[in-house]
């Protein structure tokens, strides 16, 4: 994803795993990111998959996720791919 930039990532849904002691994923829209990699995510859904039958979830609104609490950040593969294709397409046209 070398050809992409932060501007392409911002505004998309991220799936963030943080340093909690259980398997929790925070899903939300990336509104802002700073140079330290601190995230500001909106419409956050906190989802726990501990209980596979009835996954627990709740809404948290706007959440700051400091870089040092982040284990991993994931993005939807399809969305990412489309971004890349668009970018490549654009680049090829320019060239």
């Amino acid at each position: 994803m070398e050809e992409l930039s932060l501007e392409d990532i911002v505004g998309n849904t991220l799936y963030v795993t943080v340093t909690y002691d259980e398997d929790i994923v925070l899903v939300g829209k990336l509104e802002a990111i700073d140079a330290q990699g601190n995230l500001l995510i909106n419409f956050v859904k906190e989802q726990s998959n501990k209980n596979q039958k009835s996954p627990h979830q709740r809404m948290l609104g706007l959440v700051s996720i400091p870089r040092d609490t982040i284990v991993s950040i994931r993005m939807e593969k399809d969305v990412l791919a489309k971004k890349q294709v668009l970018k490549q397409d654009l680049l090829s046209k320019v060239i």
Binding site: A32, D34, N38
Partner: protein, 182 residues
Amino acid sequence: MSIIYKPLDINNLSHFNKIKELIDIDLSEPYSIWVYRYFLNQWPELVFLAFDSDNTSTDLPIGCIIAKSESHRGARLRGYIGMLAVDSSYRKRGIAKRLVEIAIEKMVEDGCDEIMLETEVENKIALRLYEGMGFLRVKRMYRYYLNEGDAFKLILPLTKRACIRSTFLVNEQGVNDSNIVI
């Protein structure tokens, strides 16, 4: 002891973290990183730090003031003092006062028409500091803080525009930001 005052170097992350620490200790309101990012990254020139130049073991600030300035209803340029903190071992030496003065001087220079801030009714020290500099209590706000106290909104007028209702300023000027379609 000599205290020196410097504008913020936004590139210095250890200063950023120390500012956060100075303020978090002092305030009852919980602040996230993005409170600091909001002020510091957008108005770095309105952040001033105090350093103890005699203390050579560290280059970290012992006090700070955080401010911003924006158009208020398209009528006047309003400065705003967001946060002010001084390390507890450095209090009662006029450091806070000097920080406020430096910030006000900068906002005057930038052409602000007024400077606004809010403070708890019970915070007599802050009231004395700001009122000594010409800030006026313009209104009381009911249960403004999370800790449930009332607050005063204080304004320091810098130009005549501070003394005219914004509705009338806008008409006078014929320009209203809200009418400008971006």
